[in-house]
């Protein structure tokens, strides 16, 4: 069964370095008006979590 994930960005921790945006294989993380935003379907690969130097992203599995 397909898994679903919720991506949360902590605005207090994000410095806008764009590492997560570069690593997201789906291109789901983009900058909108200078602020990081998530839009799209997350596959749960956790690359953004691993490569965020500021521990500003959390990805949790959600039950549909």
């Amino acid at each position: 069964m397909k898994k679903h994930f919720k991506v949360s960005i902590d605005r207090k921790l994000c410095k806008g370095c764009s590492l997560c945006a570069g690593f997201c294989p789906k291109g789901n993380l983009k900058f909108v008006d200078g602020e990081l935003a998530f839009d799209g379907e997350c596959t749960g690969c956790m690359l953004c979590v691993r490569y965020c130097p500021d521990m500003g992203i959390t990805v949790e599995e959600v039950k549909p």
């Binding site: 207090k12 410095k15 370095c17 764009s18 590492l19 945006a21 570069g22 130097p53 521990m55 959390t58």
Partner: protein, 242 residues
């Protein structure tokens, strides 16, 4: 967040610039502590001066933020007085291979049981981007506008001369970095993990990299992981030496 019990999330956000590699190494080191189930009350972090030397402040461990270049003698003193403690040094290339280079050589010669996490961003980032002891030949920095003419310090040659543990990784190759940190922490004797890291603000921009992601993609291309344990790593190789 990896191995949260070793970190102090209330101190975030970190002091470092956007895209700095120091945060990635902090996470991997906390993860390595967690994987090895290390006792936080029995582990000490020591650092000198520089951007990377601020890292112990984000760990929920006893730590010493010492003088510039003197992280190694402080750590040797702690280890000599209290041999049961795990003593880990977290510092940068200017600190450990510039002003404190002789301490590194002699601790390696004595084979003191320490783990050194060396963040090598090849620049003095905190002070604005002056060339450091590990800046590669021909590289343009604030103080070498026509390209660096001095050969970089070969950390591997310094510590392998005395048969100490040496591993090299980059902030792109995080699984390898974690493996190298775990191997260094469990090694009995002097162990150095040389982490090629990025300074996107005071180094990368001057070299034409637009952001930290481009620098990490450069590491991906420029460094080749070697399988198993080798006697010596070549210039573009990363891995663990025996």
């Amino acid at each position: 967040m990896p191995a949260r019990k070793y970190l102090r999330p209330e101190r975030l956000p970190t002091y470092w610039c956007p895209g700095c590699g120091d945060g990635l190494v902090v996470k991997e080191l906390a993860g390595a502590f967690g994987d090895l189930g290390m006792d936080a009350s029995n582990t000490v972090l020591v650092s000198g001066i520089g951007c990377a030397a601020r890292a112990p402040g984000y760990f929920l461990l006893e730590s010493v933020h010492g003088l510039h270049g003197r992280a190694v003698p402080i750590a040797e003193g702690i280890k000599t007085a209290r041999p049961e403690l795990n003593v880990v040094i977290f510092s940068g290339d200017g600190d450990l291979l510039g002003i404190g280079c002789n301490h590194l050589v002699h601790a390696s010669r004595r084979d003191t049981d320490l783990t050194v996490v060396l963040i090598d961003n090849q620049i003095y980032g905190m002070t604005g981007g002056q060339k450091s002891p590990t800046t590669a030949l021909g590289v343009k920095t604030l103080t070498s506008p026509d390209g660096n003419t001095d050969r970089p310090v070969d950390c591997q040659a310094l510590v392998k001369a005395h048969g100490s543990f040496y591993a090299r990784a980059t902030t792109f190759h995080l699984p390898l970095l974690g493996k190298a940190l775990r191997a260094a922490l469990t090694h009995r004797g002097f162990a150095v993990v040389d982490v090629r890291s990025q300074c996107p603000v005071n180094f990368g921009k001057r070299l034409g990299f637009k952001n930290a992601y481009e620098m990490l993609m450069h590491f991906k291309k420029a460094y080749r992981p070697v399988a198993g344990e080798v006697d010596r790593l070549g210039p573009g190789e990363i891995g663990i030496t025996r």
